[in-house]
C-alpha cells in the first residue's frame, strides 16, 4: 500500500516492527535513529508511558536516497508489544508494505514469541493482508544473553515461510541495519513486481 507521489517523484513505504513486549522493537528504531545521518532522517516520535513502555507507536521517517529519478522514503513504526494493547496494535498495521518480526531469544520468552506471531497473523488478516504474501523478515534479538536459545532452534520454531533470518543485539546495533535493509529491499522488489 505504498503511497506514490508522482508529482514529487516520491515513493513512501511503511515498515512495521512487530513482536512481544520488551523484545527490542523500540531499541532497533533508536539505534537506526542515532546512527543515521541527520539529513536523511526526521524526528523519532515515541508515544510511550512514563516507564518508557510503548503506548501507541514509535515513528521514524527515513530518506534512503533515489533510485533513478524516484526518491525513496521509508516510514518505520513499532507497535506496542504488551498483550493488552492489541486494539492499538492493530491500527499500526494499516497500509503496511513490510513487517519485521523481532523475536526475544530468551527461553522464558519463547511462548510470547509464538503468541505474538499468531497475533500478527490475525491482525494482518483483519487489515486485509496475508502474512504469507507480504515482505517479512525475522530478527532473533538479544543474542548476547546467556539465556538465549540456540539460533537454529529458534529459526526452526519461529520461521513461518522461509523468510530471511537475522541474529541481532539491538542496543549494540548488531544485525539492526542488516534486518532493515533486507526488509526494505523486499518491499521495493515487491513494488516493482506489482508495477
Amino acid at each position: 500500500m505504498a503511497f506514490i507521489n508522482y508529482a514529487a517523484r516520491e515513493v513512501n513505504c511503511k515498515i512495521v516492527y512487530y513482536g512481544p513486549g520488551l523484545c527490542g522493537k523500540t531499541t532497533n528504531l533508536q539505534w537506526i535513529y542515532e546512527k543515521t545521518n541527520p539529513t536523511n532522517k526526521g524526528k523519532l516520535i515515541s508515544l510511550a508511558t512514563e516507564t518508557d513502555r510503548t503506548l501507541f507507536f514509535d515513528f521514524l521517517p527515513l530518506d534512503l536516497g533515489s533510485i533513478g529519478s524516484l526518491k525513496v522514503r521509508f516510514h518505520l513504526y513499532t507497535v506496542p508489544g504488551q498483550v493488552f494493547y492489541n486494539a492499538s496494535r492493530k491500527l499500526i498495521l494499516k497500509g503496511i508494505d513490510g513487517v519485521i518480526f523481532v523475536a526475544d531469544s530468551q527461553e522464558a520468552r519463547f511462548d510470547a514469541n509464538l503468541e505474538s506471531i499468531d497475533n500478527l497473523d490475525k491482525n494482518l488478516k483483519e487489515q486485509g493482508f496475508d502474512l504469507m504474501k507480504i515482505p517479512y523478515v525475522l530478527q532473533l534479538n538479544k543474542r548476547d544473553l546467556p539465556s538465549a536459545m540456540p539460533a537454529d532452534v529458534l529459526t526452526k520454531e519461529l520461521r513461518v515461510k522461509g523468510e530471511p533470518v537475522f541474529e541481532a543485539v539491538a542496543p549494540k546495533g548488531v544485525g539492526v541495519y542488516e534486518t532493515l535493509k533486507e526488509c526494505a529491499k523486499m518491499v521495493l522488489k515487491e513494488l516493482r513486481r506489482n508495477a
Binding site: 500500500m1 505504498a2 503511497f3 506514490i4 507521489n5 508522482y6 508529482a7 514529487a8 517523484r9 515513493v11 513512501n12 511503511k14 526526521g42 524526528k43 516520535i45 508515544l47 501507541f56 507507536f57 515513528f59 521517517p61 534512503l64 536516497g65 533510485i67 533513478g68 529519478s69 524516484l70 525513496v72 516510514h75 486494539a87 492499538s88 492493530k90 491500527l91 499500526i92 494499516k94 497500509g95 535493509k181 526494505a184 529491499k185 521495493l188 522488489k189 513494488l191 516493482r192 506489482n194 508495477a195
Partner: protein
C-alpha cells in the same frame, strides 16, 4: 490498494487548500492520507515538522476510529483540539483522507467548520477521480518509474 498521485490532481488539491487556507483565515491547512503520508499543505508550513504532524494525525484518527467502532458508531468524522493559542480541526474526507486545519483567534471554530464543509465536498470529488484513475490505469505511471530499476539499483541504495 496503492494510491498514485499525478501532477494534475495534486495541483487541484493544492489550489483548493490554498483557497481554504485564506477563506478559513487559518494558519495551516494540511491533507494527509489515513496511513499517515502527507499529500499537500498550505500556509506557514516552515514552522512545523510536517512529517510528524502527518503521522500523529493519522494515529489520532485511527485511535478515534477504533473508539467509534467500539461503541457502535461508524466513525467520528470531526475531531477538534482546543489549545491556549492554537486549535486543530481534523476531519475525515470521503472516508479516505484527513483534512487538518490549524487556526488561532484570528479565526473561529464556526468559520472553520463552514469552510471545511464546502472544501471537503470538492476534495471528495478530486479523490474519487484519483481512485478511478488508479484503478483504470494502475500501472501506467509505475511502469515508467520502475521499469528501469534493477536489483543492483536497489542494492546500491544501501551501499
Amino acid at each position: 490498494m496503492d494510491l498514485i498521485l499525478y501532477d494534475e490532481e495534486l495541483r487541484e488539491i493544492q489550489n483548493l487548500i490554498d483557497q481554504l487556507h485564506v477563506d478559513a483565515r487559518s494558519k495551516i491547512v494540511f491533507v494527509v492520507d489515513k496511513n499517515g503520508q502527507q499529500i499537500a499543505g498550505a500556509g506557514d508550513l516552515g514552522s512545523i515538522d510536517t512529517t510528524s504532524l502527518a503521522s500523529l494525525t493519522a494515529g489520532n484518527v485511527a485511535a478515534t476510529d477504533g473508539l467509534a467502532k467500539l461503541i457502535g458508531e461508524k466513525e467520528f468524522s470531526i475531531l477538534f483540539h482546543e489549545g491556549e493559542r492554537d486549535n486543530v480541526h481534523i476531519s475525515i474526507v470521503g472516508n479516505r483522507v484527513i483534512l487538518v486545519v490549524i487556526f488561532d483567534d484570528r479565526s473561529s471554530l464556526g468559520l472553520v467548520r463552514l469552510r471545511v464543509k464546502k472544501g471537503s465536498q470538492e476534495l471528495t470529488h478530486i479523490f474519487d477521480r484519483i481512485v478511478e484513475k488508479t484503478k483504470s490505469q494502475p500501472s501506467a505511471g509505475l511502469e515508467a518509474a520502475f521499469a528501469e530499476i534493477t536489483d543492483d539499483d536497489i542494492d546500491n541504495l544501501f551501499s
